[in-house]
């Protein structure tokens, strides 16, 4: 056939009693126009024991984040043709592996919930929309688009060491999404909650998050802006 592509897949089945191992797989696939998820699904069609998550297959739902050749990416928008062989696919680092490419996302979502990710506005509700100028709305660009895939947070060494106490880049990006929203009134409480040596200040500007984000967002910049707010209200 000559179209074979080589893959190395992280395999782990907790019921087998075996430790995790890397499985070499050769797949007959033409990489042109195909994404890594297409290949993983084709592999699963041959060997249905391979466990992975997937949903929208167009990079907007955040299900299929995996570590590909050392980088966290969404399998569905990672072109096969760009990848060096053997393509090494592992579960996201820094989270407990449930099986194969599936990790336990709860530590990630717990931190997301911890920033109280909802708009707070205690003014009486107008009978129409609250007004927001296009400029005020533009401040949410680069923030609200986050898909909670965890590529950034699980690429962050600070989160690896402190998953219970450090919010992580995704959570902090979302924290800033509400701080930056002209309609949100809870800025003081939000800043209070983040002004903590662990929750925010574990960020060391390693910038893995920026490199990892498949949506091109910049959590490090958001973290910087939160810090600016903290400094501003202090000095």
């Amino acid at each position: 056939m000559g179209m074979g592509m080589k893959f190395r897949l992280y395999r782990y089945d907790p019921e087998s009693g075996e430790p995790p191992f890397m499985q070499d797989v050769e797949l007959d696939i033409d990489p042109a126009g195909k994404m890594l998820l297409d290949a993983l699904i084709a592999i699963k069609a041959q060997d249905e024991t391979l466990a992975l998550r997937r949903s929208c297959r167009e990079g907007v739902c955040g299900s299929d984040a995996v570590n590909v050749n050392g980088r966290n990416r969404l399998a569905c928008i990672t072109p096969l043709g760009e990848l060096k062989e053997p393509v090494e696919v592992r579960p996201l680092p820094g989270l407990p592996v449930i099986r194969d490419l599936v990790v336990d996302m709860e530590p990630f979502f717990r931190q997301y919930r911890s920033i109280k990710p909802w708009l707070v506005n205690d003014d009486p509700e107008p009978e129409v929309e609250r007004l927001q100028s296009p400029e005020q709305r533009a401040r949410l660009d680069g923030l609200y688009e986050c898909i909670l895939c965890a590529c950034c947070t699980t690429a962050c060494p600070s989160f690896w060491w402190n998953p219970e106490t450090f919010v992580g880049p995704a959570g902090l990006l979302q924290a800033y999404r509400f701080i930056a929203d002209s309609r949100d009134e809870a800025i003081s409480a939000r800043l209070d909650h983040l002004e903590d040596p662990y929750r925010l200040y574990r960020c060391r500007g390693i910038l893995n998050c920026v490199d990892a984000c498949p949506k091109g967002l910049n959590p490090a910049e958001a973290i910087g802006r939160i810090r600016t707010q903290l400094v501003k209200r202090r000095v």
Binding site: E58, S63, D100, L119, Q136, D184
Partner: protein, 584 residues
């Protein structure tokens, strides 16, 4: 068997389920949401263009005009009471989302940005209206995340990555909850609730070429059919005109709303021939059929002549970056084309199921029973794409699906609260409450020679070939015969993977059972409807037949029975919109 008990239970964590859950979570009732994926992975997240409501932020508008457009868009198959209800409630539902924090794009005066969409008119069929409220071209993402955030705030109980197996009902027909299985552990779970809402979304994955997420497998539809309840109008599937050719990912109608247009291989704006007035913003079924005809008659683009082109570059890079950033990203990734510089190759792709579980406008599931064709099933509700209220009739207008989710999600939530008040105590569970669900799980412990992935692929090919944009009795009949053979194979199928922990092979097998049930309902209903209406185009019956078919079809699984019931032409308060020829 492990059992949990709540006042209310929602199956599905998309826009409809989360909106209903929010209504319940704000009350003093306990509510649980069961979702087979983490809620923000639900297909609502993929909705791009927006949510339609006559806010009149950009141009004159009235909900009555929206109602007219929706009735006409649905080729008069929609129930006019439900449509009036939806269009009346639209503005408050959108304002409410804004108050919850949804980051809508804005106009210079600070109000919500609105864009023109297909099928929208002023003055009952006059000039193009501008009615669809948008958060750039990521409105579904913004909406779903906002609703999820509100549910976190109100402490909704989530069962993430639990797959619902079957409804639990008692001898009198009351729905008492569901059986489910934890995907992570493989353990079965019985969830009891006095009121259960199905919000399981569509089943677009029954087609080979689909814009839908891989999770859209009609799970709620399968549950309803297995419970002996009917599905309504299952022959009506919307093929979206502009899926990325060969991939199926969606390019929003908003791209044409912002000024984009379609070209065939001769560079001709062919929609001028098919819809002289609305052109590229005619109803989706009209545009999809036009593209299909252009391709079939050899005017398609590309080496295979299998697509047409969507031209956007004349809008300018700045406008595309601001208003259509998401589809630009999709186009670059999946078509290798930057729409700011070159046209996007597009072709029709299966997109939306207009039919579904029949409900009234409170979201109560209704079925023919002793006293009439629309008797509520006590304790059972359905909302969103899995339901058929029916507001979309024979063809849904763009921007009306997100609206459907929030309007009827809210309405169902409100009615469930009433129902909980009137039914304060749980009814006793029958002894065999979990039997059906456990049997579904046990079936896949059996060995078998056929593989699930192969059958799924064949099913999708079958439906693509036998139930596409154009249909005839012969092709549908062949499709049903092939489906019989495929179901025989399904009976012989077994899993290679019989493990417990995160066994996605088992989930895919359970999903395939639901898809097959949906395919059968679709083929049988499509064969029965001997007319062309909206998205259902029969080459052997090219005309709409109001004399015989101003009716909804009702499919029941046992014996593939097909029944009908009349369309509700009488709105709640306004005058009925009388059927007339549908031209754009």
């Amino acid at each position: 068997m492990k059992t949990r008990r709540f006042d209310a239970l929602i199956i599905g964590g998309g826009g409809a389920g989360l909106r209903a859950a929010l209504q319940l979570a704000r009350s003093d009732h306990t509510v649980a949401v069961v979702s087979k994926v983490f809620p923000t992975r639900s297909h609502t997240v993929s909705a791009q263009g927006g949510i339609t409501a006559a806010l009149a932020n950009v141009d004159d508008d009235r909900w009555e005009w929206h109602m007219y457009d929706t009735v006409k868009g649905g080729d008069w198959l929609g129930d006019q009471d439900a449509i009036e209800f939806m269009c009346r409630e639209a503005a408050s539902a959108v304002y409410e989302l804004e108050h919850m924090g949804l980051p809508f794009s804005r106009l210079d005066n600070g109000r919500i940005y609105q864009r023109p969409f297909g099928g929208q008119s002023k003055n009952f069929g006059g000039e193009q209206a501008t009615r669809t409220c948008a958060a750039a071209d990521r409105t579904g993402h913004a909406l779903l995340h906002t609703l999820y955030q509100q549910n976190i705030k109100h402490r909704t109980q989530f069962f993430d990555e639990y797959f619902a197996l079957d409804l639990v009902r008692d001898a009198e027909g009351y729905c008492l909850g569901v059986t489910a299985t934890s995907i992570e552990t493989g353990e079965p779970l019985l969830i009891e609730a006095r009121a259960t809402l199905l919000a399981t979304g569509g089943a677009g994955r029954v087609f080979g070429n689909s814009s839908n997420a891989m999770i859209n497998t009609g799970d709620g539809l399968g549950m309803v059919l297995r419970a002996g309840l009917p599905l309504q109008d299952m022959e009506f599937w919307q093929f979206h005109p502009t899926g990325i050719a060969g991939v199926g990912c969606l390019i929003t109608e908003g791209a044409r709303g912002e000024g984009g247009y379609l070209l065939n291989r001769h560079g001709e704006r062919f929609m001028q021939r098919y819809a002289p007035h609305a052109q590229d913003l005619a109803g989706r079924d009209v545009v999809a059929r036009a593209i299909a005809i252009e391709i079939a008659e050899g005017r398609g683009c590309g080496a295979q002549g299998d697509h047409v082109e969507l031209k956007l570059d004349h809008l300018g890079e700045a406008a595309i970056a601001q208003k259509l950033p998401g589809i630009r990203e999709l186009s670059i990734r999946f078509a290798g084309v930057d729409p700011a510089h070159a046209p996007i190759p597009v072709a029709p792709t299966a997109h939306y199921m207009m039919g579904g579980i029949p409900t009234n406008l409170h979201g109560q599931v209704v079925a023919p029973a002793r006293f009439g064709p629309e008797e509520p099933v006590p304790g059972l509700y359905a909302v969103g794409e899995c339901a058929c209220v029916s507001v979309h009739g024979a063809n849904r207008l763009g921007g009306n699906s997100l609206l459907d989710l929030v309007v009827f999600g809210r309405a169902a939530g409100r009615h469930m609260l009433e129902y909980l008040r009137d039914n304060p105590y749980p009814r006793p569970l029958p002894d065999d409450a979990a039997a059906a669900g456990l049997a579904r799980l046990a079936r896949w412990d059996r060995k078998g020679s056929e593989r699930v992935a192969a059958i799924t692929a064949d099913l999708r090919r079958l439906m693509q070939k036998h139930c596409g944009v154009f249909r005839t009795d012969g092709v549908l009949r062949e499709g049903l015969a092939e489906l019989d053979a495929l179901e025989a194979r399904l009976a012989q199928a077994g899993l290679q993977d019989t493990s417990r922990v995160f066994n996605t092979a088992r989930i895919e097998a359970l999903e395939l059972e639901n898809l097959v049930a949906v395919a059968r309902a679709t083929l049988v209903s499509a064969r029965a409807r001997t007319e062309s209406r909206g998205a259902h185009a029969r080459e052997d019956f090219p005309q709409r037949d109001d004399a015989n078919w101003l009716r909804h079809t009702l499919y029941v699984r046992e014996g593939d029975q097909l029944d009908t019931k009349p369309v509700r032409l009488k709105p709640l308060t306004v005058e009925s919109i009388k059927p007339k020829e549908r031209v754009y």
